[in-house]
């Protein structure tokens, strides 16, 4: 079964269609770069994939389960615009909390392991409120990968990351892909994204203008797709 199946998804805001008949599939180990201008519908689609929003029509299946089901949620990790960690809790408490919410058998071990992997073990008891921006970003990344999700959803992850965090994230993404996870990443940073991507999906005015494998042409000239579909 495919890791991710987006089946003819429509999303209406009132009578206005923000997404129109989005239909594509992604296999395990695939990394889909979701491209499109602001307002095209990328964030709307990602929110639906994350189970934050219900499609008006159509369905989304993650590893065969509907994306709103508990099983699908257990296997989904998300890195959105906000970092999604609590300022008043310590780094350790944050990871411990999310490990518990995702039902990990040994929450303590998982939290400690990811504190080390993101280089935060020395500040484990520091309140996030006092962290530098880079540290918060790394903790957010830890939170997203903590439960070894089969599906990773990233909304413009490279924006506002510092170098260290970008390197960390790219390393983790490569590792997850090698382990068979599926990634859907919306981005404006074409170069970083296209390095990792195996597939590319372009959304134009709510419709899927192009969905296919990443080609050499795209890597050499990232703007090529936009021009092809009249968006430049």
């Amino acid at each position: 079964m495919t890791a991710l199946a987006v089946e003819n998804v429509w999303k209406y805001y009132g009578d206005f269609p923000a997404l129109r008949g989005i239909h594509f599939e992604a296999a395990r180990g695939a990394c889909v770069a979701l491209l499109g201008r602001n307002g095209a519908g990328k964030t709307t689609l990602l929110r639906i994939l994350a189970g934050l929003s219900k499609p008006s029509r159509g369905a989304v299946r993650v590893l065969g389960q509907d994306c709103l089901s508990e099983e699908a949620r257990r296997g989904t990790g998300m890195l959105g615009h906000g970092i999604g960690i609590y300022d008043e809790l310590s780094a350790y408490e944050n990871l411990r909390l999310f490990a518990a919410l995702y039902g990990l058998p040994d929450a303590h071990r998982a939290a400690m392991e990811w504190l080390e992997r993101t280089g935060l073990e020395r500040v484990r008891d520091g309140l996030v409120r006092e962290f530098s921006r880079g540290m918060r970003q790394r903790l957010a990344v830890a939170r997203a990968f903590l439960h070894s999700p089969a599906l990773l959803l990233l909304d413009e992850p490279f924006t506002a990351l510092d170098d260290r965090a970008i390197a960390l994230l790219q390393g983790l993404l490569r590792e997850s892909l090698a382990a068979g996870a599926t990634i859907v990443m919306s981005t404006h940073q074409l170069r970083e994204a296209l390095e990792l991507a195996t597939h590319v999906a372009l959304i134009v005015k709510g419709k899927l203008a192009h969905a296919g494998e990443r080609t050499a042409a795209m890597v050499d000239d990232p703007g090529y797709l936009y021009r092809e579909y009249g968006e430049a």
Binding site: A50, G84, L89, L101
Partner: protein, 226 residues
């Protein structure tokens, strides 16, 4: 069993966060104490008057203080987009709600527990003559207030003017619960054990709690997931 553990995890997180910063707790408690003291000062009620108004005064104080606390309940999740992370996690929306209701319940009960002795001192009232019944009424009525308040906090979380709207929406809904609490508390503070009419109020309070807890649990997912 997993469900209750999830409810507890959420409740513990909220309690830990609030007890660490104490922002809402301080605001709420100060407000409650100020009203109690100001009222005593302004009206200087006689023993007779105090006996008549004790329930009404106490529950007005608790309701106003509660509103300050409950507003923060879901609003605190908006910083750093934590609400999205919670909704996307495998924790069901109803467990999220119940966890928050539980945390708010404990916090509001704490505030009430501080207000009662203060009331006793400044109004010269011997309020603990029916301690077990009083405790039962506090537990039930506070649950009613927190269930409605937390549910409405979820309902209004993404709206501007949330702070103004929440009290406006919540108070009419709470009138039956508050009336029952006021009636029962007045009688209990005066030392009368509940009987006849009073028991009917108690039953209504329990019914209110059960029905609105069930409704909120059923509807919260619709509210949180667009």
């Amino acid at each position: 069993m997993l469900y209750f553990r999830q409810v507890w995890t959420i409740a513990a997180k909220d309690l830990r966060s609030e007890l660490r910063t104490k922002e809402a707790l301080n605001a709420s408690l100060s407000f409650a104490l100020v009203i109690l003291l100001l009222f005593s000062f302004a009206f200087d009620p006689t023993a007779e008057m105090t006996r008549e108004i004790s329930g009404g005064l106490l529950w007005l104080v608790f309701a106003f203080a509660g509103a300050l606390l409950l507003n923060r309940s879901f609003a605190r999740e908006l910083e750093n987009d934590c609400l999205d992370v919670l909704v996307t996690s495998p924790v069901p929306a109803s467990a999220l709600l119940l966890g928050k209701v539980l945390a708010n319940w404990v916090l509001l009960l704490g505030i009430e527990a501080v207000c009662l002795p203060v009331f006793g001192v400044f109004y010269n009232a011997d309020w603990a003559r029916q301690p077990w019944w009083l405790a039962l009424v506090m537990l039930l009525a506070t649950w009613g207030v927190t269930v409605i308040g937390t549910m409405f906090s979820a309902l209004t979380v993404n709206l501007r003017l949330r702070e103004l709207m929440l009290p406006m929406l919540v108070y009419p809904m709470l009138i039956p619960c508050l009336m029952a609490a006021m009636q029962l508390t007045t009688a209990l503070v005066a030392g009368q054990a509940p009987e006849g009419d009073q028991l009917a109020w108690l039953r209504m309070l329990a019914g209110f709690d059960i029905i609105f807890t069930a409704l909120s649990v059923a509807l919260v997912e619709t509210v949180l997931i667009g």
